[in-house]
């Protein structure tokens, strides 16, 4: 009797699971379509700029979330991978005339290899030791680029002016193509997270995050799992860096490798809900407009008001909603089911 009942209930569970996953995809598709329609309504160039940055940081934070959220390795040095992507694309394009599309992939591959090389020693470190090592490594990268004449040193590299063109990712007159590129990048990182979440890697990462010793005893290859998460995360972070370089058309060490980028990649995920599918997007949608708007309206003249608002926001969310803003909805959904 029981043997007949059990497979049925398992089957029912699996069906429910599959339909929930399918529903998630459909909802995501609708959200992406709604976002894609936004430029029709937002015609102000400044606000378009804010939208582009929001999508870019959503994509970056989604990439950070793979290593920091799912695998639990809090990196505060992702500015390094962002910078590698930006510099690889810029140098290949400006000095050698290589298409930014290729440069982007080259930068991504370089970052992934770099993440593996750095992960090999760093993943032996635990907790705060790991986080501080990532800050230090990114800082070494920043200092080296600063003093590296081939990369333009402290002066940086300017992209040449060219005609608006998808082939060279240059759009001087109309910023909307950048909006679609950033949206595309976000969708790709979302889909990668979506598919990985329920794959073997996804389960392994969460096991490593919750308890590495227990995971190892159950046969999870802890070290390899962390390495895979780091490489995937670094790859997409570098693509984001390449996009940013094309978008601003001028890079220097401070503008692409400063510590605040590492923070800006981690914060949306933390704010929205770390290790969740939608957390980085929700966090970025709140954080980036606030950052940009306070910077332009309250930050004028360096009064510091923007930093006061921004710092207070981070502190309050960290203390009041440790699981991120998304946890508000999850709790209400749970109580609805109960009632």
């Amino acid at each position: 009797m029981t043997s007949a009942v059990l497979p049925n209930s398992v089957l029912a569970n699996e069906n429910a699971f599959a339909s929930r996953r399918r529903n998630q995809l459909i909802i995501a598709g609708l959200i992406f379509a709604a976002v894609a329609a936004l430029p029709r309504f937002v015609t102000d160039v400044y606000m378009q700029n804010v939208l582009i940055l929001t999508l870019m940081f959503a994509a970056l934070s989604q990439s950070w979330n793979i290593l920091g959220g799912y695998c639990g390795q809090i990196s505060l040095g992702h500015a390094l991978y962002f910078g590698v992507g930006a510099y690889a694309t810029t140098v290949l394009f400006v000095k050698y005339g290589v298409s930014p599309w290729f440069g982007m992939l080259a930068g991504g591959a370089m970052s992934a290899v770099l993440a593996l090389a750095l992960g090999w020693p760093c993943f032996r470190l635990k907790g705060h030791y790991f986080s501080i090592a990532t800050i230090v490594i990114a800082e070494i990268g920043l200092l080296l680029v600063h003093n590296w004449d081939y990369l333009g040193g402290a002066l940086g590299i300017q992209w040449p002016f060219g005609p608006d063109n998808w082939a060279t990712l240059q759009f001087a007159r109309d910023k909307i193509p950048y909006f679609y590129f950033a949206l595309g990048l976000f969708i790709v990182t979302w889909l990668v997270t979506y598919f990985i979440e329920e794959s073997r890697w996804g389960y392994w990462w969460r096991a490593v995050k919750d308890n590495p010793e227990a995971a190892a005893s159950l046969g999870v290859t802890v070290f390899e799992s962390k390495m895979a998460a780091a490489a995937i995360s670094a790859f997409f972070t570098a693509i984001g860096g390449a996009f940013y370089a094309a978008f601003v058309a001028y890079i220097d060490p401070e503008s692409v490798m400063a510590f605040r980028f590492s923070l800006l990649m981690a914060l949306p995920a933390v704010l929205g809900g770390i290790g969740t599918l939608w957390g980085p997007a929700v966090g970025a949608a709140i954080l980036i407009p606030i950052t940009e708007i306070t910077r332009s309206y309250a930050g004028g003249g360096g009064s510091g008001l923007d930093l006061i608002i921004y710092g207070t926001l981070i502190m309050v969310v960290a203390l009041a909603k440790p699981e991120g803003i998304l946890s508000i909805f999850r709790r209400s959904a749970k109580s609805e089911n109960a009632s």
Binding site: V136, F259, G304, I308, M315, L319, P322
Partner: protein, 292 residues
């Protein structure tokens, strides 16, 4: 490079190293007590420097005499930060490590904003002090008096800290709390009170460092960030929680930084320190004297 020049470099590095140790020890103490890394530690230093500057500006009293007042102020600030923020961060039911990191990061940004709001982003410096601009000539080796003062203060503070930790009830309560937080409650020690005092002490220590640094270093809202990374590296190098480790690591950091500046362009002098730190933690993940 002549022997004299080398001695000069080593002596300067040693003095700066003692000051780095003084900056870092409060961070290490707090971590050892309750496993919390204060990511606003550099901003505590910055507040101490601005406090010294502000008091000097208003009263005209020499910074050397202002040090006790600044230290006391930072003690209060540290205790209040624990009672008002960190205490709640430690109650988080989820992602507790993350909550601590970002709560203190938010605080750091808030303090930067406040200092920019009240003091503007301009670089400030304290002028016409007893020690500023004077150097001591020891057989051809020139040592600036402010750094000598800092080094001496650092040695005295570490000596005092050793006595405090080993000879007083407060020190024993601190030690007991870091060993076993649950058991101390049973013998009537109020954990919250010990933590608040621990944060006060940690902040007071960086307060002394700030009062010293304000004499010879430019004061601006980002000054904390400059020293914070050195402090994290020092603490991680010496081993989180180890007071003695912070002293040794601070001196090593000062020396390596000074020697790196001889070999590489001075804008790269921190690279030597970072490389040494990475080399050490990759071999010994818990630092030189860590007790992980």
């Amino acid at each position: 490079m002549s022997t004299e020049a080398l001695i000069q470099v080593i002596a300067s590095g040693l003095l700066m190293g003692l000051i780095y140790a003084l900056i870092a020890v409060g961070l290490s103490l707090i971590f050892g007590l309750m496993d919390v890394v204060n990511f606003a530690h550099g901003e505590f230093l910055m507040v101490a420097m601005y406090a010294t500057f502000g008091l000097w500006l208003v009263s005209g009293i020499d910074p050397v005499l202002l040090a006790p007042a600044v230290t006391a102020l930072l003690f209060v600030m540290g205790a209040l930060v624990y009672l008002g923020i960190v205490r709640y961060a430690m109650r988080a039911k989820a992602n507790i490590g993350m909550v601590q990191i970002f709560a203190t990061f938010g605080l750091a940004i808030l303090i930067q904003g406040l200092s920019q709001y009240f003091f503007t982003p301009d670089y400030r410096s304290i002028s016409n002090t007893w020690l500023g601009g004077h150097t001591l000539n020891v057989f051809g080796v020139y040592l600036p008096w402010p750094q000598i003062y800092g080094g001496v203060i650092s040695v005295l503070v570490f000596g005092g800290l050793y006595l405090l930790m080993s000879r007083t009830d407060f020190g024993r309560a601190l030690e007991a709390t870091r060993e076993d937080q649950g058991a101390v409650a049973l013998v009537g020690i109020d954990r919250n009170r010990v933590f608040a005092l621990g944060w006060g002490l940690g902040a007071a220590l960086v307060g002394i460092a700030g009062a010293v640094l304000a004499i010879f270093y430019y004061i601006h809202p980002q000054v904390g960030a400059t020293f914070a990374l050195i402090a994290y590296v020092t603490v991680a190098l010496g081993g989180f929680g180890s007071v003695f480790g912070a002293l040794v690591a601070g001196v090593i950091v000062g020396l390596v930084e000074a020697l790196t500046a001889v070999i590489l362009p001075s804008s790269l002098k921190a690279v030597g320190v970072y490389a040494l730190y990475l080399g050490v933690v990759f071999v010994r993940p818990s630092g030189l004297f860590g007790r992980l």
